[in-house]
């Protein structure tokens, strides 16, 4: 799970163009949206694409994103359980 969390941090920085954020800046349980990393609605949509592209998970209901993308921890748990790639 640790490797996956690292991988997710790297991907988020790259895919969402978080230029000034380093891996060490993202804690596993920090909120990704709102106050934490300050991601927005377009970032959420990009993460949905990333779930599909990199892990083969198609979100049937995009509203599920709210809970899945809460933090690196919740993302890693969800992907571990549902990945097809």
């Amino acid at each position: 799970m640790e490797a996956l969390k690292q991988e997710l941090k790297e991907k988020i920085i790259a895919v969402l163009n978080l230029e000034d954020i380093n891996l060490e800046d993202i804690n596993d349980n920090d909120p990704l949206f709102g106050d934490g990393l300050g991601l927005d609605s377009i970032d959420a949509l990009e993460l949905i694409v990333m779930l599909d592209k990199d892990y083969g998970i198609k979100l049937v209901d995009p509203k599920e994103g709210k809970t899945i993308f809460k933090s690196i921890e919740t993302m890693a748990a969800y992907i571990s359980a549902n990945r097809t790639k």
Binding site: L16, N17, L18, E19, D20, I42, D43, L45, E46, V49, D52, K53
Partner: protein, 210 residues
């Protein structure tokens, strides 16, 4: 319509790895790709705005020019009624081509919302509005070349009918590493008269086309 005189308060040009403000070069790099040039410019002017890196090239170009001209114009204690009237030749085609590529391989089909949102030229106006909290008149026009007669008339009518107190005008063109931004602020006071001929001179002086 009786016209009150209007003036060009300030102007800048961004092209060929160089930024010229009111006729003086204020930033220059060795020849490099726009992504690198714009990042270096961003750092050089110590702009604190991480969202810059999410923008497409057209928006980055427009954003940088606006940043320089609006820095000393914005009064944070009140509403700033500065209209944005921008134009270019390629619309958002640079990003459109990028987005089209992302949907052309049916076996690797992952349309990106973050790219798609920039496939409209007026998004750069939105970025500038958000950055400077400008709730003002916005419009984006497409012409084959910079059209000083049109721009002069349109900016003036906004000022004359009091739809705006100042107008930030721009020719912001970006396509395939060829970029040119010519931005200028029109107001009821300034050193240079806001006339079609003046605009032509200022534009041509620094245009890479000539």
């Amino acid at each position: 319509m009786i016209e009150n005189k209007t003036y060009i308060k300030s102007f800048c040009t961004i092209q060929n790895n160089e930024i010229i403000l009111n006729g003086e070069t204020i930033f220059k790099t060795e020849p490099t790709l726009f992504a690198d040039f714009s990042k270096k410019a961003f750092r050089n002017f110590e702009i604190d705005y991480p969202k810059f890196f999410k923008m497409d090239n057209l928006s980055k170009l427009a954003f940088l020019g606006a940043e320089l001209l609006l820095k000393n114009e914005i009064d944070n204690t009140k509403e700033n009624n500065i209209a944005l009237v921008f134009s270019n030749s390629s619309s958002s085609l640079d990003t459109d081509v990028k987005y089209q590529k992302s949907i052309s391989d049916k076996d690797n089909y992952f349309p990106s919302p973050a790219v798609f949102v920039y496939t409209l030229p007026n998004i750069c106006l939105g970025e500038i509005s958000i950055r400077h909290q400008l709730r003002s008149e916005n419009s984006f026009f497409i012409f084959e070349d910079f059209n000083p007669a049109f721009m002069k008339n349109y900016a003036n009518v906004l000022l004359e009918t009091k739809k705006a107190e100042k107008v930030l005008c721009g020719w912001v063109e970006y396509f395939g590493e060829e970029y040119q931004a010519f931005l200028y602020l029109v107001a009821s006071e300034g050193n240079t008269e806001h006339r079609k001929e003046t605009l032509e001179i200022l534009y041509n002086k620094h245009s890479w086309k000539h």
